[in-house]
């Protein structure tokens, strides 16, 4: 008999037998990866939810006492992921983890996490209000493994003063997001405008286009800009579109060649990077919606909307499309010896997804909301950034695929980009090596076009 089935049967029998309520003390641990002070509500919302769940239990006549223990001081994503997997192997996994949706594929396969759909009714509030495309990102093999914890997307930014200085009028700047969305303003225009800004001496050499300085989900966007597809919707296999990949690599090589982007840009310190882009040292760049919080608070840009315009990532050319990737973090419930604790954890993340609770996180950390009703929560609705970014970006956003081998794919794609960018290889050679490596490592799981 299966684990799930016996567990479910036991629960059914227990509730039918109406076991008298006994005082229950439960400790729920929450580990949140990639979280700093402004992301405190990833854990605090669970504590607030615990209070609510305790009150609900009290009304039913049960004495439930939940202690929430949170941890978010990990050295980085690597340490967090190693920590979670090793704890799961040792049977001491935290009850709830907040992590990248990309972890769903390997962790579900390994049996570290349990589907939240085993415990939650998705036809009931607040889950029936969560955007279906976000729920989809937290699902794998048609099973709902987790709940989206927040949403974001990765826009392209323009520094308005620099754009004015190279000849754009205010109206033309305001029209840029529309031009990008329609495919009229492309990455070729980015090269031209960035070069102009450098040649005219408005920004320093290497600051015409100032990309993210490290690996991350952003790079898939540029591959998509040139018409690349990450996953084949029919077969679920990963896709290497050689022409798109080469054009994407070549774009960065061209940007370096033209002096827009520094050859040794990769590895630039994030602190330096944020401070530079938030204060106009770069003409064009790309980042994430949560950057709004960083620019306006820590970096002291008091007039975000007066100084910065934002749009989708422009298309690479005629064959490509403007796009943006959303990379939501998700709440996952881990496999525990005691099914009741899984149930409590699932209830907690459900309550923490209430629009009002989620809005606290969304606004404090400059992320986007997860459910439609958040636009009726004043805290969320009155925030200009949240509403404009949601409207301009989230409709066009897609996510990276939940696939066991996507990690290998994305790491190899990054290696190739790095090699082209730094001039170690030509774009053509880098793609050839990428093809060889992915063919060897992924085999049948890859479609090459």
């Amino acid at each position: 008999m299966t684990k799930k089935f016996t567990g479910a049967l036991a629960a059914l029998m227990m509730s039918v037998a109406a076991v008298p309520a006994v005082a229950e003390d439960v400790t729920i641990t929450v580990w949140a990866g990639g979280s700093n002070d402004s992301d405190a509500y990833r854990i605090d919302a669970i504590a607030m939810a615990a209070d609510m769940l305790e009150r609900e239990a009290a009304i039913r006549g049960e004495d439930l006492n939940i202690t929430v223990e949170g941890k978010r001081d990990f050295g980085g994503w690597e340490e967090f992921k190693q920590g979670v997997t090793l704890a799961a192997e040792a049977g001491t996994a935290p009850n709830i983890v907040v992590t990248s949706h990309l972890d769903i594929a390997p962790w579900s396969q390994a049996g570290y996490i349990v589907p939240v759909e085993d415990y939650l009714d998705f036809d009931a509030w607040p889950l029936n209000d969560i955007y279906p495309n976000l729920l989809e990102i937290a699902a794998y093999n048609d099973v709902q493994w987790g709940l989206p914890q927040d949403a974001e997307s990765r826009p392209f930014f323009f520094w308005k003063d620099t754009m004015r200085a190279i000849g754009y009028s205010d109206e033309e700047i305001a029209a840029l997001p529309g031009r990008v969305a329609s495919g009229d303003y492309t990455l070729q225009n980015v090269l031209e405008d960035g070069k102009k800004a450098v040649d005219m001496g408005i920004v320093e050499k290497g600051y015409g286009f100032y990309p993210r300085p490290s690996n991350g989900p952003d790079w898939g966007q540029f591959y998509q800009s040139f018409g690349g597809v990450l996953q084949d919707p029919e077969t679920g296999k990963l896709v290497l579109d050689k022409a798109a990949m080469q054009a994407f690599y070549q774009f960065f090589a061209d940007a370096v060649e033209a002096g827009l982007t520094r050859k040794n840009h990769i590895g630039t310190d994030w602190g330096q990077w944020y401070s530079e882009v938030a204060n106009g040292k770069a003409a064009l760049w790309h980042g994430g919606t949560w950057h709004y919080g960083r620019y306006t608070k820590k970096e002291g840009n008091q007039d975000f909307f007066g100084t910065i315009e934002f749009s989708l990532i422009p298309a690479g050319g005629e064959n490509g499309r403007p796009n943006t990737i959303t990379h939501p973090l998700v709440y996952l419930v881990t496999d525990q010896a005691n099914d009741d604790h899984e149930e409590i954890a699932a209830q907690l993340i459900k309550i923490a997804s209430e629009p009002r609770l989620n809005s606290l996180h969304a606004i404090k950390s400059a992320h986007l909301g997860i459910s439609a009703q958040q636009s009726n929560i004043e805290l969320y609705a009155d925030d200009r950034w949240a509403s404009e970014a949601t409207e301009r970006l989230l409709g066009e956003a897609n996510a990276q695929p939940n696939h066991l081998s996507y990690g290998v794919f994305s790491e190899a794609m990054w290696s190739g980009l790095e090699a082209t960018w730094t001039g170690v290889k030509s774009a053509e050679d880098a793609v050839a090596e990428l093809e060889a490596e992915l063919t060897a490592k992924l085999g049948d799981e890859l479609i090459i076009r």
Binding site: T2, V16, A105, A110, Y119, N141, N264, S410
Partner: protein, 433 residues
């Protein structure tokens, strides 16, 4: 065993324990992991049996019949007599009767639709989500997305479906979620171009850093030997700083030194050179700094060892040589260096082996960049086994990288022992024979 040997073993015990725990066990585990396909998704402890769409898709076309695929994919939920009987037993006969009258014989694709059907119950509502889910499970005729603890349980579940018996064995082998033995890791390693580049990088890294370590360590030891004692120990202390500083802090200082807004760029800026990131500007720059960063740490160890070895040289030999009119260079060449043979052997062999496996300073400084130009073998092992943003860490392949290092390490140690004539070095001094 007499008391003397027992005492000997007693004293040796802590060292043996350490060797077993920190050398032998990791080596054995590396060998073991290297021949598995272990990754995050397979887990470490072993697996269960699971079929889902991804697994079905990964099964080659000819391994199972199309009929099997269709049967598995289209099973869904069915309100049949079997399920209704179970419902009558676990909940109540009335509930089962009401469901039969509402949805008897119905088929649902998804669990959610089945749950919705259960919500249609009016007289016998199921009032808890968890109970409703358990009830829905009674009608599940699909084995997709259900984990089975044992092979027997999985085969029993398969037997309950309409999947042809001929496909059961193939399905069972693909359904296993745990790791299995394989030699693919080694084949993959030798087939990748990147492996050869990482190997070349490692050779370059070890050769250059070792030469710097030993050469500079010797230079420091000999030059401080001829300084007045106070001044000498001051210099030695300063040169020892890289080793005692926490690596993160030490590398951070190098980064501040080489950033395009750092000290070096500012100073060269006065000479009219455009600011640049001196560490990551080109592959050559990166190599220079990788060698310097590692070299300064290694050189300090060499310096201490060589200094104490020089001090052990009987001063009478040096005095005698001065009486004979030997120059400083001649003293170094004919007295000091020959007597440093053993410490040089030790430093060289110890540092070759430790450099082969060390990557922490490279990880912190260049992270293998620019463009993987400074990615050494040990760093590649780390990246493969322990660092993957996409989530699926490849323990098996990473261990295969590490295993190659273990093999090279052992061969290198044997060669060193032979080359430096170890036996002669540890033989008793002639005077005692």
């Amino acid at each position: 065993m007499n008391r003397r040997t027992a005492l000997g073993f007693g004293f040796l015990a802590p060292a043996l324990l350490v060797v077993i725990l920190f050398f032998l066990a990791p080596v054995v585990l590396t060998v073991f992991f290297a021949f598995t396909n272990m990754s995050t998704s397979t887990g470490i402890r072993g697996g269960e049996y699971l079929l889902n769409q991804s697994i079905l898709r990964s099964i080659p076309e000819d391994a199972i019949s199309t009929e099997t695929r269709n049967t598995l994919e289209n099973a869904g939920y069915q309100v049949n007599d079997q399920g209704l009987a179970k419902l009558a037993e676990t909940v109540s006969p009335a509930t089962a009767d009401e469901l039969r009258s509402l949805h008897g014989g119905a088929r649902f694709d998804s669990r959610r639709d089945m749950e919705r059907a259960l919500k249609d119950l009016r007289e016998n509502r199921i009032r808890s989500t968890r109970d409703r889910k358990a009830a829905a499970d009674l009608f599940n005729t699909s084995i997709l997305n259900t984990r089975y603890n044992t092979e027997d349980a999985f085969r029993a579940a398969l037997a309950g479906t309409n999947v042809p018996v001929g496909d059961h064995d193939a399905l069972t082998s693909f359904a296993y979620t745990g790791w299995s033995w394989t030699t693919e890791n080694m084949k993959l390693l030798f087939s990748l171009d990147s492996s050869y580049r990482y190997a070349a990088n490692t050779a370059l890294y070890v050769a250059l850093t070792l030469a710097f370590n030993v050469g500079f360590g010797l230079f420091l030891a000999i030059s401080t030997f001829y300084l007045p004692p106070v001044l000498a120990s001051t210099f030695r202390t300063i040169w020892f700083l890289p080793r005692i500083l926490p690596p993160v802090l030490y590398v951070l200082m190098w980064k501040w030194f080489t950033w395009d807004t750092g000290f070096l760029a500012t100073m060269t800026g006065y000479l009219g050179i455009a600011p640049r990131n001196w560490m990551l500007d080109t592959a050559t720059n990166a190599w220079v700094f990788v060698v310097l960063i590692n070299g300064c740490v290694g050189a300090s160890l060499g310096m201490i060892l060589f200094s104490s070895a020089i001090k052990a040289i009987p001063t009478s030999m040096l005095y005698a040589s001065e009486v004979d009119g030997a120059s400083r260079w001649q003293q170094v060449r004919y007295i000091i260096l020959p007597q440093l043979r053993w410490p040089i052997l030790f430093t060289t062999s110890y540092q070759t082996l430790s450099l082969l496996t060390s990557f922490e300073y490279i990880l912190l400084s260049t992270e293998g960049g620019p463009g993987r130009a400074t990615e050494v073998w040990a760093l590649a092992a780390y990246h493969t086994a322990l660092s993957n943003y996409g989530g699926n860490l490849q323990y098996g392949l990473g261990a295969a990288y590490a295993l190659i290092l273990v093999v090279i390490g052992i061969i290198a140690s044997l060669l060193y022992l032979r080359f430096f004539n170890f036996k002669e070095l540890v033989s008793k001094p002639r005077i005692e024979q």
